[in-house]
């Protein structure tokens, strides 16, 4: 909380004072300082949160690591800045972070008015409702008059208001800034339901005193394509971040994993040869080392590995691939050819 209140003025001051926030040349800046500064969530289990040993874990965190692996050949050359929903875009605009991998929904307004560019979606999400079973509610349509716990400064507040207006229902929002405080108030019964992106609901339910007492309602009331973002106007940097995400997806499609990537370099498949830099060209086009994609897969893994490690069936979140499966398995994850 205190962080937020310090952060907004600091960031605004930075925006006022800095004469030349690097609009172009982010890659050179990053190479100069020797690491990628990534804005992440910091509190969201499965997406961006340090574990009990202080090691950053999560789908978004691994996405930032992939960018570092592509540039430096070392996935650990990345520093993380935890950002709240309110401060994240300003932090990116003002140059505090080089890339924002913080479960941010791509919208037209953000892509234009905020001066941002979103790249390949790394998680297709949608907003839902978490309710206690004892409330006896089976559908979001029965929530007329409910008190709703919601995080501020996100598309969530707007979707919530839109959904209740569409369905001619009323509600009272209880807006609390921190994820942890919001969840505590909800578990104590301050609100009838809690609304957030479905992936977050799974994370919040996982930390409930008794997770089986809570259910996620079937209605998904919005489209939330969560994508990494960069500053508008630096096309080279945008390409690098974009293809770092796509490389993980392409690797999954090509059947390359962190385990078999070394054997795969001997593959006769020209697509794999190009992808891993055995046949050069892709690296030069991006201004990176030819082994950039190899390094991503070797050090971070393909999309399936990253998904299962952070949010998949074996984790407390137990999320299914759903929309996030490869297009070949009926999902939306689809990479253009790497050539």
């Amino acid at each position: 909380m205190a962080r937020v209140q310090r952060m907004v003025p600091a960031v605004v001051t930075a925006l006022c004072l800095t004469a030349g926030v690097a609009v172009a040349g982010t890659l050179d800046d990053v190479k100069g300082k020797g690491f990628v500064q990534a804005g992440v969530n910091g509190e969201l289990f499965g997406f961006g949160k340090p574990d009990e040993k202080g090691v950053w874990k999560g789908l978004d965190v691994d996405t930032a690591r992939a960018v570092a692996a592509a540039i430096f050949g070392d996935a650990e050359k990345v520093k993380f800045t935890p950002l709240t929903a309110k401060t994240r875009f300003t932090a990116l605009q003002s140059g505090e972070v080089d890339v924002l991998t913080r479960n941010a929904t791509q919208t037209l307004g953000r892509d234009t008015e905020l001066g941002l560019d979103f790249v390949q979606v790394n998680y297709y999400d949608g907003q839902g409702f978490l309710v206690p079973n004892k409330l006896g509610v089976k559908s979001a349509k029965e929530l007329d008059g409910a008190s709703v716990c919601v995080l501020p400064g996100t598309t969530t507040e707007q979707n919530l208001a839109d959904y209740f207006r569409q369905n001619k229902m009323t509600m009272k929002p209880v807006v609390i800034e921190s994820n942890a405080e919001l969840a505590k108030a909800f578990f104590a019964g301050r609100c009838d339901c809690l609304t957030s992106d479905a992936s977050q609901l799974a994370g919040i339910r996982a930390v409930a005193p008794n997770p089986t007492d809570y259910a996620i309602l079937p209605e998904i009331i919005s489209k939330e394509p969560l994508a990494p973002a960069v500053r508008h106007g630096d096309n080279q940097w945008k390409d690098i971040v974009n293809y770092a995400v796509l490389a993980m997806i392409e690797a999954e499609e090509l059947g390359i994993t962190s385990k078999n990537v070394d054997e795969m370099t001997a593959s006769a498949d020209p697509r794999i040869q190009r992808f891993l830099g055995v046949t050069p060209g892709n690296g030069k086009a991006l201004g990176l080392d030819e082994k950039w994609a190899y390094n991503i897969v070797k050090q971070v893994g393909n999309y399936s590995e990253v998904f299962e490690r952070n949010v998949g069936a074996a984790t407390p979140l137990m999320l299914k691939r759903g929309l996030n499966a490869l297009w070949t398995s009926g999902g939306l994850m689809y990479s253009p050819p790497f050539k």
């Binding site: 909380m1 925006l15 926030v21 007329d144 409910a146 501020p152 707007q158 839109d162 405080e181 104590a188």
Partner: protein
Amino acid sequence: MKGTAQEKIPFFRDPDKLAVFYQALTALGVALLAYYLIGNTLANLERQNIATGFDFLGREASFEIGESLIAYSAANTYGRALVVGILNTLVVSFVGIVLTVILGTLLGIARLSGNWLLARLSAFYIEVFQDIPILLQLFFWYAFFYELLPGPRQALQPFAGVFLCNRGLIFAVPEAHPAFAYAGIALLLACLATVILKKWAARRQEASGRYFPVLQTGVALILGLPALTWFVAGAPTAMVTPVLSGFNFKGGVSISPEFTALLLGLVLYTSAFVAEVVRAGIQSVGKGQREAAMSIGLRPSKVLNLVILPQALRVIVPPLTSQMLNLTKNSSLAVAIGYPDFVSVAGTTINQTGQAIEGVALIMAVYLFFSLATSALMNWYNKKIAIVER
């Protein structure tokens, strides 16, 4: 004097002209700096394709606000949403300041009491509440409310028509009736009459020495006149009683746990500081003053009202003003416990529109206005109570 002698002083040796010159130079420097900063910011924003200006105030807010003094829905504009936030901040600050001054004064007097237990209890309170950060206190009170109180379906009902649950304190209010408007007018008239009465009584006492019981008459007027008006206008007793329907109570008035937690946290914290201010003020009045007043036979209450307080207030008012400002500014911690104050609403607005600079500028302007207005009012009061030196 010879004008010619003065004219010979060149302007760069004339301290008066030099002072004006340096001030103008400084003002010019500040203006140039401001021009540079604003121009630079606009250029930066332009280059990064970030929208600027206050046009967003007229656009649809499309988010709901938990509690509002005026009619508001997601279909209203950002401008109206911000007004809702400002009013919420004003309410919690105003009620908070009134309660803080009362509680702080009582505690400060208790701290000096001859009663050992009372003085120690007050000292203990002051130490504890001064030393715990306000944010922690807010979290504590908020958790206290939502953990302790039951859900709306199991709401406690201490009296008929009053419900207490983790949605708040919900109570019945009288149904709208013209009698209440008349009673309100009667209340205003009674207040006015009391003020006039007080002036008349003071003049009469100075002229004739005869005493008039202003306090008792005033209370009787202020309570009695509206009650009489209400009775004459038909004595309506119909109430709007809250009824549990669906998830929450409908009808009546509700005070949310967020508001109560914020108010309680602010009042308990700030009153500890006010108590110390009041104690310092009372102790600043020399012992001889009290003894002299008692030796001419004044009752203890008169000693306090006529001798001690007028002198103590001179010391109390300036630091008290700064405590009031602290309370107002600390109310911006509301966002931590879900009370939709101005900062909370402005924060959502900033995030939805992405116009952080305009949003933060608005926040600064509003708090600056609150602070200057409070200061101006208290300075006026300070001048009024200042002892006239003869």
